[in-house]
Symmetry: C2
Subunit: 192 residues, 2 copies
């Protein structure tokens, strides 16, 4: 399912996801991934440091950059969590929506592989830190910045969980405000 | 600083924390920890599977059990996040408050050691899962249970962060509702 045309990183990602799904993460080698993508192992290591990174490397940093940029660029009067929501929506559009059809199999592989779950946690921690940094630069105190970033991550996780469901057709950007509303219901105690 | 009298696990925990602080985590061996606690290596491995676990093993499971028990025992009409707050306060009293003077050095060692941060993330994930399970048993849908548990963990983290500050004297149980109020301020957009 190569979707990125000549883009080597994208082809490697697609090949890895296909092989992990077909034969399992543990059983798949870098050599097999490279071969399936029509590339050399050397080319693989030009893009990713190891097998684990192929599922993370190409979007994680881009996502962080987009969220941080958007949080920084909101008007000063924007409440912090609203600025974060805006950033997450921008990253949904610019980074994640293109990978929608790969998101569900990717999620299944991560959920089945402790090593990848650890990497996923590290990715979340890095995104949380990037958001908190961007909020502090807006003048928010460090404690509130960290709390707001944590809330943003909960909204992102809840929206992604809905996004990968087979019958869900809405774009991720539309699911983010819905997730924030669910979170508000819990915080206000209006959830039964 | 042995505070637990004849309790071997507690003495090992105290000895490990002292050695990690004095000479660093990487440089400390299980043999040294056992010796400092006046015990054998064999005795160490009766209590903990490895060096990393000595900072986690003796409280993590107890904390999960107390929180889950309290969430389960709240009246059905209690809003979910309030039930979680109650559980976190019970665990603060029964499990964590006794370790107050060790909490700040423990935090510094974890923050300086990526291997321990990973373990800390795993502990958080396990506590989140335990809370979500207890909420589902109260009849909450799975999505809302996970979101509520995630909010509970943010409250716990924010309260612990305040709790370990040198000039903070209030017990953790009193800092938890304050952290929830901060979180409410962010979610309602009333935080400047």
């Amino acid at each position: 399912m190569p979707r990125w045309g000549p883009n080597a990183a994208g082809r490697l990602h697609d090949a890895a996801l296909t092989l992990f799904t077909e034969q399992g993460y543990e059983q798949t080698t870098v050599a097999q991934i490279a071969e399936r993508a029509g590339l050399t192992e050397r080319s693989f290591f030009n893009h990713f440091t190891n097998k684990r990174e192929v599922l993370f490397g190409h979007t994680s940093e881009h996502q962080r950059q987009v969220v941080a940029r958007e949080v920084a660029s909101r008007p000063a009067a924007t409440p912090p969590l609203e600025a974060v929501l805006h950033g997450l929506q921008a990253a949904a559009d610019e980074v994640l929506e293109d990978f929608r059809e790969l998101a569900a199999p990717r999620r299944r592989i991560i959920d089945a592989t402790p090593e990848l779950q650890e990497r996923e946690e590290a990715k979340r921690a890095a995104l949380t830190a990037a958001i908190a940094d961007a909020l502090r630069e807006r003048g928010l105190d460090a404690d509130t910045a960290l709390l707001t970033a944590g809330l943003g991550l909960l909204v992102q996780q809840a929206a992604e969980q809905q996004w990968v469901r087979p019958d869900e057709k809405r774009p991720l950007r539309d699911l983010l405000p819905a997730a924030l509303e669910s979170l508000r219901g819990v915080v206000d105690g209006t959830t039964a």
